[in-house]
């Protein structure tokens, strides 16, 4: 009997507060929902950045925001649906892995606005289909690649610090467009600024496995690479680890990774996913939301380069800043196709 009373008590508390929670969720301000991919909020890369953008938007615009972390790939559809069903004003999916899920859910909820980072809605066969309620948030990664390429090229040309072999390298995860854009811009800058510099490139064919990235890194270093640019997510951390072990330089990607290996990482190619999220929320708020392709680039501060290590000389930084201005003014248009594949 006593046990029953305790149970009844607990359930009555839960029930009454359930009703509170229910009413607590309705408000008049805009509601923004973010769904991460399986990388989760602590990926130190684009999921984390997207979440930063969400929090900044919540602070600046007084909008209500929520986030759901996807634990498996098959959670994408129910998680996106969860927000859409609660009549959120904007539902954001992070990453090209969600192109098909966003397509499915957005078709079911034509009155809800969606956004997808790094992709466009795609049907079950993989064909892109632009929808009137989905904003595709793309980045000109080649511009970020170009900026860090300018720094790498200048250091290789001037033989700064340990960069004595006039050879720079890069490693992608899988050769998909967002990865190859980075590498293309990087190589373009090096060929433009320091044509005599040897360029090597490789792919780990993985975004997770650090061992594969490290293997390629050690291989590149054995071929005299002084500066290693990673575009391979978790696998790229192995590439950086190789640089650290052998005492050469590395360049981070997406987020500012300089704190991951101080003294090894000289700068990072930034893709400000937070900016894209922030701007899209702002657009919804200002009734300026635009479905279809939206590009984030140097021009709208969606692309940049990160903090630099003390070893980076002033002339390299000045050259990168000049390139930034030139891309902005249209004087330079970095290439987006990879020239040196292997």
């Amino acid at each position: 009997m006593k046990r029953f009373l305790v149970l009844a008590f607990i359930f009555s508390i839960l029930f009454t507060t359930s009703c509170d929670a229910l009413t607590g969720l309705t408000g008049s301000s805009l509601k923004i929902g973010l769904v991460t991919d399986v990388g989760g909020l602590n990926d130190k890369s684009f999921n984390a950045l997207a979440n930063t953008g969400r929090l900044d938007a919540a602070k600046d615009f007084g909008v209500q925001t929520s986030v759901i972390e996807s634990k498996k790939q098959e959670d994408y559809v129910p998680n996106l649906t969860t927000f859409a069903q609660q009549n959120y004003d904007l539902v954001i999916g992070v990453g090209f892995l969600m192109t098909n899920s966003v397509w499915k859910v957005a078709k079911q909820f034509p009155n809800i606005k969606f956004a997808i980072i790094d992709g466009a809605p795609a049907d079950d066969a993989g064909k892109t289909e632009n929808l009137t309620n989905v904003a595709n948030l793309f980045f000109k990664e080649q511009e970020a690649g170009y900026l860090v390429g300018v720094i790498a090229a200048t250091m290789a040309k001037d033989k700064v610090g340990k960069a004595t072999h006039n050879t720079v390298c890069s490693m992608g995860g899988i050769p998909i467009p967002p990865v190859d854009h980075y590498i293309a811009g990087y190589q373009d800058a090096i060929k433009t600024i320091s044509p005599t510099t040897t360029i090597l490139n490789g792919y780990s064919n993985d975004f997770v496995d650090q061992a594969k990235g490290k293997e390629i890194g050690l291989n590149h270093i054995s071929k005299n690479c002084d500066i290693l640019f990673q575009v391979a997510g978790g696998s790229g951390l192995g590439y950086i680890a190789a640089a650290k072990e052998k005492g050469v330089y590395a360049i981070g990607v997406d987020a500012d990774q300089i704190d991951a290996a101080p003294g090894t990482i000289i700068t990072s190619a930034l893709k400000r996913v937070n900016k894209a999220v922030y701007n899209t929320v702002k657009a919804v708020k200002d009734k300026a939301y635009k479905a279809g392709d939206n590009f984030f680039s140097v021009a709208n501060d969606g692309i940049g380069y990160g903090k630099t290590d003390a070893i980076v000389p002033a002339n390299a930084k000045a050259a990168a800043d000049q390139a930034l201005a030139d891309i902005k003014s249209g004087k330079i248009t970095p290439k987006d196709t990879v020239q040196v594949k292997g």
């Binding site: 839960l14 507060t17 929670a21 229910l22 929520s66 498996k72 129910p78 069903q85 192109t99 899920s101």
Partner: protein, 345 residues
């Protein structure tokens, strides 16, 4: 006892919520609402409960025979591959043929995979815990190869390797009309799951084979004295266990995703171990435990969305449930009483 385990876990979980600076009552309210707050939420909870129940039966039937089947996950994936292959290979067959074929492929594939571990145990004395764990890994990588470059790979949009879609005839229909619960994904697989629960009960308690299986579980030596060959029963029961898990995989393919993809339904086979333990290996217990864990999974998502509390909390609670059950088992074992410790040995 299981109810107390859950309550203790919820209580300790509440302390974690408090430490993280949130209100536990609000957290649990959001959790419950997320799982059962609307007809759609209930249907989503049931969608998750279906594979959990079946995988739970898989673990439990082996438990009852004194075997520890850690391989439900692998068997589920093999079942999904079998069903996905048949379903996509004959896309033009009518449903009356294709659906049963898909179902049988899934169940048989899972059963065959489970039987391997049973045979290794019976013929070579290899511990089934080790072999089933290794089998889980083998499927994951074989599946990756099959879908990435192997014979089952097909173009798709999800950015992950996947098979081509199954034929319309292989699809388990949605059983809740759209007018009643818009967008519900609850499919006829729930009917199969209920039938499987009844089958589990009938097999174990209403057939002589079930009696023999349970006899082996209670004491293999005694059973052998009574003329039951424990080795043959081991192979058979692992095949049955694999069949239940394979059915779970088939249902995920035919009912939900209509294709197989890399990283498919990860984790159900492992949660199933907790489900079977919590459900005390009984049909009703497993069903209730599966619904509870499904509610945790579904509610956890909504708790994160609506109350801002990390959905990883539900993983903490699930782990605590297991911990409390394990602690109870240990206490009983120390006290020298007969209990679940026997089944675990």
């Amino acid at each position: 006892m299981p109810v107390i385990s859950v309550l203790v876990a919820l209580f300790v979980g509440a302390i974690f919520v408090l430490i993280s600076g949130h209100n536990p009552i609000r957290a649990y309210a959001a959790l419950i609402l997320g799982a059962f707050g609307s007809p759609y939420d209930i249907s989503e909870t049931l969608v998750i409960a279906v594979p959990l129940t079946l995988a739970g039966l898989s673990v439990a039937v082996a438990f009852r025979t004194g075997l520890f089947n850690i391989g439900a996950q692998g068997q589920l994936l093999v079942g999904a591959l079998g069903a996905g292959w048949t379903g996509s290979q004959f896309p033009d067959l009518p449903g009356i043929l294709l659906l049963p074929m898909t179902l049988i492929s899934g169940v048989l594939a899972g059963a065959a995979y489970g039987a391997i571990a049973g045979w290794l145990k019976a013929a070579r004395g290899v511990n089934e815990v080790i072999t089933t764990i290794m089998q889980n890994y083998i499927v994951v990588f074989v599946m990756h190869w099959l879908l990435q470059d192997g014979p089952m790979s097909a173009p798709n949009a999800s950015g992950t390797p996947a098979s081509s879609p199954i034929g319309a005839g292989a699809i388990l229909p949605i059983i809740i009309p759209n007018e009643l619960v818009p967008l519900s994904r609850l499919h006829a697989g729930i009917v199969l799951a209920v039938l499987a629960v009844v089958l589990f009960w009938f097999l174990l308690w209403r057939t002589s084979l079930g009696y023999e299986l349970r006899a082996v579980g209670l004491g293999a030596l005694a059973a052998a004295q009574a003329g039951i060959d424990p080795k043959r029963r081991m192979v058979l029961v692992m095949a049955i266990a694999g069949g239940f898990a394979g059915l779970a995989g088939m249902i995920q393919v035919s009912g939900l995703f209509h294709r197989v993809f890399d990283g498919f339904s990860s984790g159900f086979g492992f949660d199933a171990i907790a489900v079977a333990l919590l459900g005390k290996n009984s049909p009703i217990g497993i069903t209730l435990a599966a619904i509870l864990f499904a509610a945790f999974a579904r509610g956890g998502t909504l708790m994160q969305a609506n109350a801002g509390i990390s959905s990883h909390l539900v993983e903490v609670i699930e782990a605590l449930v297991l911990f409390v059950i394990a602690a109870e088992t240990i206490v009983r074992a120390i006290a020298g009483r007969r209990g679940p410790a026997q089944a675990l040995a």
